[in-house]
Structures are given as C-alpha cells and as structure tokens.
C-alpha cells in the first residue's frame, strides 16, 4: 500500500507541475495593461483530485478484475412475447400520461431529451450498427431545422407538410456527402464528416440573404393538431384554435404538453422503423460490415451501398429531429449546430453502448436531465463530459448497457498450430 501511496503522490506532483501555468497563473487584462496573478487553490484542488483518483485506481481495478472473472457470458433477456408487449405498452402509456401530472418546465426538458433520443437513435445506426464514425452529424440536424424554418416562413407550409420534405432533404444531403466519402477508411471518414459539419455551419453563418446569418430565423410556426393551432388567437382569418374547438380555457401549458407528445410519437416512430430495419437484410448487412468488411465483400455485399444506406438513414433521422427542433424553439441560428452538439450526440451513443438502443435512450435522458439537476456545476459540465468520454473508453468501451445479441462461441481448446 505505501508504494501506491507514493506513486499517487508522484502523479499528483506531476499534475501540479502541469497545471501551474494554466490554472495557477491567470492573465489579467485591463485596458492595455497586462499583469499576472497567482492563485494556488485551483492547482491544489487539481492535485488532490488526481491524487485521490490515482489512489482509488488500485481498489477499483481489483474490483473490476473480480467482476471480470465472475461475469458470465451475457445472455439476452428472453421475456415471453406477450409479457414484452405488455411491458412496452405500459412504458408508452406511462410516457404519454406523465406530462399531465408534472410541471411545465419538466415537460419542456423531457421534450429536449426526446430530441436527443431521436438524434442518438439515428447516430446509433451509423456509429453503432454500421461502425461509421460520423463527427458531422449535426450538419443533417441543421439541414432539417433550416429546411423547416425556410419552407414554413417562405412558402407557408405547415409542420406536417414539411416533415417528409425535411427528411428527404437531409437524406439527399447525406447521400450526396456519403457517396464519395464512404469509400474511405474509418478515421478519414470521421474527419471528412467533421469538415463537412463545419462547412455547413460556416455557410449558414455567411449566406445572409437566405439563412439570416448569425441572427438566424425567427417566428417559426409551431405544429398544429389537424389544423387546430395552439395559441390564444388563431393566426389565420376564421381559423379555430385548440382551446376554442374543445371549449377549454386557454392555457400555455397545452402547447408544451402537445410538443412533448409530438416528440414522443416521432421517437416511437423512429424506434419502430429502426427495429424493423435491423431485422431486415439491410440491417444485418450493416452489422456484418462493421464486423468485417473484407468478409462482407467476398460474400458479394457491396460495402458502398450498404454504408450509404446507413449513412442516409442516420441523416434522415437527424433531419426529422431537426425539423421538430426548429418548430419547438421557434427560432434557430447557427449557434445550435456547432461541433460540440455532434460530440454530445456521439457521447450519448458511446455512453449508452454502441448498438444498444435502450442504452442510447437512457443515456440521452441522463445527459439532458443531469445538467438541469446539477446547475451549480454548469461551468464544469463540458469538462466532466470530456473526462467521462476518455474514462469510458478506457474502462468500458462497450458502454453502460452494451448491446447483447444471441451468439455461439466455439469451445476453447488448445491450438494445434
């Protein structure tokens, strides 16, 4: 034990040396006068954190080692189909009734969480199933959002008319980008998609006449329920609003709950489509391609078309979510579509477990809800976020709830060669 203690001391000392110039000395600028100010507290805190982390590493490693030995081969949960159906229906009913019982703010956060669930599910197809690292996912989200904003403000199309158009636009953008790029190897693809995401954001920022530049687009109409608007008064002559039609008192909370329900329906739709797709030949091809591209090619699968279908599907999901995002916010600008947004969605997929849908859903909810609960740590949110990504890759690269699928392994035996 003393050895670990000294090791931890040494590591903490190194951490102290490293953090002194950044955390310990602050540059103060007043007018043209620049001065330095020393503050040992952050450095000491960082040293203490590193010391504790290093000291705890040993028992943690021992525990995870024991867990590793006792862990059995993961087996998928085999509920009888009827039970599973009942469970799914119960969860959906609970999710649908829940917003009527809680505050407006909570429903609003839940809607945001559902947007991230949609994005996570879409990216999960690209990263988790097809194994293509897409760092510019937010570009397709932006295409959907701007698509809806422009179509509705310029041509007066409703949300429900725009939705399929936005999905198509995002899918076309995805295919146009994907077609030439998907022949590249994995990490090149990551960087090209990252570059593409940046190009889209720069274009949105600079094509002032079309997109409004950094000011963005405002006054985007909210979705309506079969033509019934959620507003105090109808925006069109002779139109009926929701509360007038049903003879209710007007309440602003109606809109929030309605948006939540729309998001819920959209999420369920995406979930359903993905679950059908992964049982179809194309979905199986995605996973096969992720496991071994050369084997796939020799079995007569065309890697480019398969990758393109995954990429295009992921893009269209992002477009779907983007259109809803624009409708919910009522205002969009390029600030919502930065690289960090792509990184958050990627983190959702990675934390949940690549290829695991239930994991992705829970991770999306956790990553949206936690910052709301821990508001006092808002400054450290992204710092912790980055750290968690690194630590997850080291300790649990398969994610918190890894995807389990039925598999058979050959019994281990001594190699004869």
């Amino acid at each position: 034990m003393p050895r670990h203690f000294f090791e931890a001391m040494l590591v903490a000392l190194l951490a102290g040396l490293l953090t002194v110039p950044i955390l310990g000395i602050q540059i103060q600028v007043e007018g043209i006068n620049v001065s330095l100010e020393g503050d040992p507290l952050p450095v000491l805190l960082a040293m203490a954190a590193v010391f504790m982390a290093r000291l705890l590493q040993v028992p943690l490693k021992a525990v995870s080692g024991v867990m590793h030995i006792t862990r059995r081969v993961p087996r998928p949960i085999h509920l009888p189909t009827a039970y599973r159906l009942i469970l799914i229906v119960l969860v959906i009913v609970a999710a649908a009734i829940w917003p009527f019982t809680v505050s407006r703010g909570a429903v609003d956060i839940a809607t945001l969480a559902l947007i991230y669930v949609m994005l996570g599910l879409g990216l999960n197809v690209v990263v988790g199933f097809a194994g293509l690292l897409d760092l510019g996912y937010v570009a397709f989200y932006a295409v959907g959002a701007y698509g809806y904003a422009l179509l509705s403000t310029h041509f007066g199309l409703s949300f429900w008319e725009c939705l399929p158009l936005c999905v198509m636009m995002a899918a076309i953008t995805g295919c146009l980008l994907g077609f030439p790029v998907l022949r590249l190897r994995g990490d090149y693809l990551a960087i090209v998609t990252l570059g593409f995401g940046e190009i889209i954001r720069l274009l949105l920022n600079n094509l002032d006449e079309l997109t409004g530049g950094p000011d963005g687009i405002g006054n985007i109409p909210k979705p309506s329920l079969f033509g019934l608007e959620f507003a105090r008064r109808s925006s069109t002559e002779g139109g009926t609003t929701f509360h007038e039609f049903f003879g209710l008192e007007y309440s602003g909370a109606d809109t929030v709950v309605f948006l939540y329900l729309v998001a819920l329906v959209m999420t369920l739709l995406i979930l359903y489509v993905i679950n059908r797709l992964i049982r179809m030949p194309v979905g199986r091809a995605w996973e096969a391609l992720r496991e071994d591209e050369i084997a796939c090619r020799s079995l007569g699968l065309n890697p480019t078309t398969i990758k393109l279908s995954a990429f295009g599907f992921g893009a269209s999901t992002a477009g779907f979510a983007g259109a809803f995002f624009a409708a919910r916010q009522g205002f969009i600008n390029p600030e919502s579509f930065t690289f960090i947004e792509s990184a958050i969605v990627l983190a959702i997929v990675v934390l949940g477990g690549m290829g695991s849908q239930i994991g992705v859903i829970l991770a999306a909810i956790a990553l949206t809800a936690l910052p709301e609960i821990a508001r006092q740590f808002a400054e450290y949110r992204m710092l912790i976020f980055g750290l968690v990504l690194v630590l997850m890759m080291i300790w649990r690269p398969q994610g918190l709830l890894p995807a389990t699928r039925p598999r058979l392994e050959l019994p281990a035996r001594a190699e004869t060669l």
């Binding site: 540059i27 274009l203 983190a347």
Partner: protein, 305 residues
C-alpha cells in the same frame, strides 16, 4: 501583381504555422495509426503558456532584451507543452493501444473537449491580447500604389520554422532514436521484437509533436497577439488537412501540405470573401481525400487480411 506577392508572403507565414502543427499529426499517425484529435488543444495551450511567459518576463521582471525573451519563451513553452503531450498520451491513449480504431479516436475527442474547458476554466473564455513584442517591417513598392508589407515577425516565423524543421529532419534521419522512430512507423510489432522500447518511441513522438506545436503556438501568439481557448479546434483541423494533403505519415509531406494550405487560404481570403477561407480549407480536405487519399507524398496503404 503586387497583391499577389503580398498574399504569397501571408500564405507562407500561415503555412509555416500549419506545417509545424501538422508534423505532430503525421508523426503520431505514422507510428500508431491514430488521429490525435487533441493535438490542436496542445497548440492552444502552448499559445497560453507563451503569453504567460512573455508577460511574466516583460511585466513582472522587466526584461527588455527581445532575443532573450524570445528564447526563454520558446524554451518554457516547449518544455511545458511537451509535458502535456506526454501526459495526454500516457493517460488517454496508452491504455487503448490494442483497441479497435474508433476507441482511441473517441478518447481523443474527449481529451480535446476536456482540455478546451480546462483552459477556459483556468484562464477565462474571453480573447486575450498582448502588445506586439516585435513590430515594424519592410515596405516594398511605389508609395502611390499598393505596397508589399513584410513584417519582421513574418520573417522570424519563417526562420524559426526552417530551423526547427531542419532540426527535426536531421534528428529523424541521423540519430539513434530517429532511426527507432522510422522503424516503428514501418512495423511496430517487429521493432518491439528487436528489443526497442516502442512505448518510449511513441511517447517521444508525442513529445516531439507537442514541441513543434509549442513553437507554432508561441509564434502565432506573438504574431496575431490574440488568443482564446477555442483557437485549437480550427487550427487542429486545418493542420490535419495539411497533413492529409501532403500524405499522412510523411514528414516532408506535412511541411508541403502546410505551405499549400496556407497559400490557398490566404488567396481565398484575398480573392473570395474572408469568411470563406475556412470553407476553402475544408473543401480542400474533402477533395484531397476523394481524389488522392494517400496525399501528395504519401504511400498507398495495403489492407491486410
């Protein structure tokens, strides 16, 4: 015509910076085949350390000898930034040596986000600016028309870049450790079998890359005089573009790619709109990857089953 030469000068200055950062990408990629996404943040940290050292020397200690300040700042920044490069490799990449490709890349993205926010917490998110240490320059051309302006700082950037590039080339070509580096980039397992401590060589690669990024960071903070915690992201992607353009894994390629990228960016901002210079850089990246994924000086990669 004169404007053209002016843009060549600006492009070469910018290109030197990109080339210095690009070497870090290309060396790491050449040896362990991963994209060190956090390399841009290393450059950003070095710019901060450079700024702090310059401020400490000039304001706190009242040193006025410019060459002394320069030397000391470069040394301090290289030392501190190399330590960061070493620590990042040790913490975020070494435990993942044998994982599938995407795992270290995601870890690198996490590291990049972490470092960006770490500096933001330490130094604040606002722009920091400083008085130029070296000002002035030469003017060419008629007084009436367009004048070419070549600042002393631009000359300094070019000279320092050439010195460090030459030193690196000699180190890789002549020294024992340089030979070990070349061996590792050819076949890591084989090199290990031959009794070379490959972990040490990999650490060395990160340290060398960080040191060159530190040079770039110090030079840019002296030249532009304005830094914030987010400069690493853009510079990192552009330097990566430069590395890919020249052929990733090839050191002369990174130098060439940096210069080409710097030139095309400075022409784009002169003859198109300034806002589109980043679009040009990223489009260049996409185009190179499409038509010549091995880059200008790179070797084609053979896929082994």
């Amino acid at each position: 015509m004169l404007e053209f030469f002016q843009q060549v000068i600006n492009g070469l200055t910018l290109g030197s910076i990109y080339a210095l950062i690009a070497i870090g990408y290309t060396m790491v990629y050449g040896i362990i085949g991963m994209i060190n996404f956090a390399h841009g943040e290393i450059y950003m940290i070095s710019a901060y350390i450079g700024l702090i050292t310059v401020t400490a020397l000039t304001v706190q200690f009242g040193v006025e000898n410019v060459p002394l300040i320069l030397l000391f700042t470069l040394a301090a920044s290289i030392l501190a930034t190399s330590a960061y490069g070493w620590a990042i490799e040790r913490i975020a990449y070494r435990p993942l040596r044998s994982s599938p490709r995407l795992i270290p890349l995601i870890s690198a993205i996490g590291m990049s986000i972490f470092l960006q926010n770490y500096v933001q917490i330490g130094q604040g998110a606002r722009d920091l600016s400083m008085q130029p240490l070296i000002s002035g320059g030469w003017r060419f051309g008629s007084d009436a028309g367009f004048q070419i302006y070549l600042s002393y700082m631009q000359v300094l950037i070019a000279v320092v870049t050439v010195i460090f590039m030459t030193a690196l080339t000699l180190f890789i070509a002549r020294s024992r450790l340089g030979r070990a580096c070349r061996a590792c980039s050819q076949d890591l397992t084989m090199t290990n079998l031959l009794g070379i401590d490959t972990n040490r060589v990999i650490s060395l690669t990160f340290v060398l890359g960080a040191a060159l990024a530190a040079v770039a960071g110090v030079l840019i903070s002296l030249h532009i005089g304005k830094i914030n915690p987010f400069i690493g992201f853009d510079a990192g992607i552009k330097a990566f573009t430069a590395a890919v353009l020249g052929g990733i894994g090839s050191i002369p390629g990174a130098m060439l790619g940096g210069i080409i990228l710097g030139l095309s960016e400075s022409f784009a901002s002169a003859y198109l709109r300034t806002e589109y210079k980043d679009v040009v850089a990223f489009s260049l990246l996409v185009l190179v990857l499409l038509f010549r994924p091995t880059g200008l000086l790179g070797k084609p990669e053979i896929e082994k089953v």
